[in-house]
Amino acid sequence: MKFYGEGIAGVNLAELSGKLIVIEGADGSGRSTQIDLLRNYLENTGRAITNVGLVRSTLVSNELNEAKQGNVLSEITRSLFYATDFADQLENIIVPSLRAGFIVLADRYIYTLMAREIVRGADRDWVRSLYGIALVPQLIIYLKVSPGQLVERNLRKNATLDYWESGRDLGISRDVFKSFMRYQRLIQKEFSMIQTEFGFHVVNGNRAIRSVSREICAQVEEVLNREEK
């Protein structure tokens, strides 16, 4: 494995025998459903799995959630808070799991974090360097779902659109629905800009759960077989 940039201190890359697989996509893109199905599939074939996701660290996730509620963090502070959360999980969960030969399934990774910052006007180079601590995954699946479908799925599930997923802090529109649509388009545009560079495998998530899952499992299997050779 390798790092995107400067990496983290004290990690011997040669020891990391596991695989890192990332699923990216907006809320309502079917990420969690697909991760559950993929986990079943992989465990069924005898592989050991660790799940990770954003804002789940022991170190700062509670504080981060609290601060999000009050919307009290300034831009750079919030970026760094997310990066701290990420780094904590990277060092305490991802790296040890990879060392133990597990497959790590990441429910979102640095790309969401970077895209969110960049559409909010952060300096691209700064964000890249910040996440230079991250490991390069063996596979990045990007579940692409049209903003129209996203709205429908989010409303069906929660009957409301999330403040942050609607980019309300950006003040793009006073109308929640319009704000959501425009924000999701901005994020998708950012993802299409970086998808080649980071080698995303784009999966059309507008389809039925089963056919999406079949595509993902096949892709994962191909990568694992290639890596095992």
């Binding site: 400067e6 983290i8 201190a9 170190l59 502070t77 701290t84 060092e91």
Partner: protein
């Protein structure tokens, strides 16, 4: 919105930033305190900022420290988050409002500590890329033994991270502290030229050091410009 702006941190601001750096026990906190008193009594808009004091991030920092959850990278990031909070919400607005902002420790403390813990120096400099360089940085240069004696003669309770125990240099907190400080001192010396520190000999009498500090500040800045305009 993909045409993102580059971070610009060299823009001229009405306020000025003065930082003091040096080892624990170098006397820098005493000196910056005296400088603050002097400026205040001259009716100057002055604000004093300490390293590690923001309320939002404090909970997470102390939890991480107590439970020894921190690795070099998360240690570095959480301190940077804390710094960013103070920087964005306090220091920067004050600088725009024409204050003299005094900092007891600044980003060089992070550069030194985190590099000793093994973080990449290049990554660290980029990490703090959103921050202005001070208009004046004093480095209180006290020989290692003198600084160590000032701190250790009282046999204080050294905290885990403060003593650099996480580096595994020694099982004895005092010995670990010594070795940790020695490495930090080397980092400071290496940064002196890179960042244009103004070195003050930290072994001289307190009053003499303060006289030098005040003299340099008075020559570097047009102090009357920083006076309060409003009458209380």
């Amino acid at each position: 919105m993909s045409d993102t702006k580059k971070m610009i941190v060299t823009e001229e601001l009405p306020g000025k930033l003065i930082a003091v750096e040096g080892l624990d026990g170098s006397g820098k906190s005493t000196q910056v305190y005296l400088l603050k008193r002097w400026l205040e009594m001259r009716g100057i808009k002055v604000f004093f900022s300490e390293w590690n004091s923001s309320v939002i991030v404090k909970k997470a920092t102390s939890k991480g420290k107590k439970r020894q959850l921190l690795t070099p990278t998360t240690f570095s990031l959480i301190h940077c988050t804390d710094f960013a909070d103070r920087y964005e919400r306090q220091m920067l607005p004050l600088l725009r409002a024409g204050y003299l902002v005094l900092c007891d420790r600044y980003i060089y403390t992070a550069f030194a500590r985190d590099a000793v813990r093994g973080c990449s120096r290049l990554w660290l400099r980029n990490l703090y890329g959103f921050v202005r360089q001070p208009d004046l940085t004093f480095f209180f240069n006290t020989p290692l033994e003198v600084a160590l004696n000032r701190i250790l003669s009282g046999r204080p309770q050294l905290k885990y991270f403060e003593a650099g125990m996480d580096l595994g240099l020694s099982a004895d907190p005092y010995e670990s502290f010594r070795l940790f400080q020695e490495r930090i001192y080397q980092e400071y010396l290496a940064m002196r030229d890179e960042f244009g520190f103004v070195t003050i000999d930290g072994t001289g009498p307190i009053e003499d050091q303060q006289e030098q500090v005040r003299d340099i500040v008075a020559r570097r800045f047009d102090l009357p410009r920083f006076r309060w305009r409003t009458q209380v």
